[in-house]
Assembly symmetry: C2
Homo-oligomer: 202 residues x 2
C-alpha cells in the first residue's frame, strides 16, 4: 500500500506527506470538507499553499486522500468484525462496540468522518457529498453481505431481510456517530450499542 509518488530527482520535499495528510484528515474530520479552509489546512499541516497543491493537486483530491487514509487507519474494526470467524450475532456485537470505541477516541474528533465530512453540501461540493454517501452505502452493503452469510449458515431466521436489517445496523452506527459528535462518552455509546443489539432476532 505505497502512498509515495516515487520522487525521480530534483529538490527533495521538506516535509512528510503522510504526516501532513494526517493533519488534514483530522481537520476535515472535525469541520467537514467545505468548512475547512485552505488557511486552516495551511496552519495545521505546517505548509505553504504551493506545497499543499504540489503534493495533493487540489483541495478535493486532498480530501479524497484523507478519506482513504481514514478508511485505512481509523476504522479497521469494521472489517475485522465482519470477517472474524464468529457467529453473526457476535459479529454485529463487535461491529457496534467497535464503533462505540472508534467514534469516541480521546484526542480525535467525535463520530465518523464518512458522516461528518459532508452531510450537507453546496452544489459545488455535490461530488464530495456523493462520494461520502457511497462510502456509507458500501459499509451497509458489507453488513448485508455478512448477514447473508449468517442467514445461509442458519444464524438468522430465513424470513429476515438482510438488506432491511443491514439498514438498521448502519442506521444505528450513523446515529451513534451523531451522538458521539454531541458529546456521548464511549461508555454511553457502548450502552446504546447494547440496546440496539436487543433488536437482533433470536
Amino acid at each position: 500500500m505505497e502512498n509515495s509518488d516515487k520522487q525521480r530527482g530534483g529538490r527533495p520535499r521538506a516535509f512528510d506527506p503522510d504526516r501532513a495528510l494526517d493533519a488534514a484528515m483530522h481537520l476535515f474530520w472535525e469541520h467537514g470538507y467545505e468548512a475547512t479552509s485552505l488557511a486552516m489546512l495551511r496552519e495545521a499541516m505546517g505548509l505553504t499553499p504551493p506545497q499543499i497543491y504540489n503534493a495533493f493537486t487540489d483541495k478535493e483530491t486532498l480530501f479524497r486522500k484523507a478519506l482513504m487514509r481514514y478508511h485505512e487507519t481509523e476504522i479497521g474494526f469494521a472489517l475485522e468484525a465482519l470477517s472474524a470467524p464468529v457467529s453473526t450475532g457476535e459479529a454485529m456485537r463487535r461491529l457496534l462496540l467497535g464503533a462505540a470505541e472508534a467514534y469516541s477516541r480521546p484526542g480525535k474528533p467525535g463520530g465518523c468522518l464518512f458522516v461528518s465530512g459532508a452531510l450537507a453540501a453546496s452544489p459545488q461540493a455535490q461530488a464530495i457529498a456523493d462520494e461520502l454517501r457511497t462510502y456509507r452505502k458500501e459499509s451497509e452493503a458489507a453488513i448485508a453481505a455478512r448477514l447473508a452469510k449468517g442467514k445461509a449458515k442458519g444464524d438468522l431466521p430465513q424470513n429476515l431481510s438482510v438488506e432491511d436489517f443491514a439498514r438498521y445496523i448502519a442506521g444505528v452506527m450513523n446515529g451513534m456517530s451523531i451522538q458521539a459528535r454531541d458529546g456521548a462518552s464511549a461508555e454511553e455509546l457502548r450502552v446504546l450499542a447494547q440496546t440496539a443489539l436487543a433488536a437482533l432476532p433470536a
Copy 2:
C-alpha cells in the same frame, strides 16, 4: 404565534416574509447553514439582498428563524407522539414512525434539518452548530421525560435507565435522518423503525 413585526407606517413590504422564510428553510435544510450562500437564498426567496437583511437582520438570524419555523411546521409529530395519552411503547412507536414519514416527505429534503443543518462547521459557525446540538439534546430530553413518565406508570422496568434508552431512541432517529438523506424510502424507514422498536423492554 404572530411572526409579524407590526408595521408602523411607511411603504409596505412587496413580499410575504413567511413565504420567503419558507424558501430559506428548505434551502438550509437541503444544503446546510454554511453551504447555503446569499446568492442561493436571494434566488430562492426571490428577493434582493437589502430586502433579506431588512427583514431578517443577517444570515445567522435568518437561519435561526428558519429553525423555529421548521420546528413549528415540520416536526409536530414528535410532540404529538410524546404527549398523546397512549402507552409508552405506543408513544415510541408513533415517534419513530412519525420520523420515518417526516424525514422522507416527497418534495422536501431528506432527513432532519436539526441534523443536516450544521453537523460539521467552521470555527466561525460554531455557534450555529451548538444551537443545533441544543435542539437535538432537547429532543432527547423530551424523550427521556416521556420514558420517565412511563416508568413511573409501570410501563417500563424499574431498572431501566431512561437517559440511556432515550439516547438510543434519539440515536436511531438521527440515524434515520442520515439514511433518509442517503435515499431511503418512507417504507424502508418504517421497517427500520419497527426493527428498532424490537429493542423496547417488555
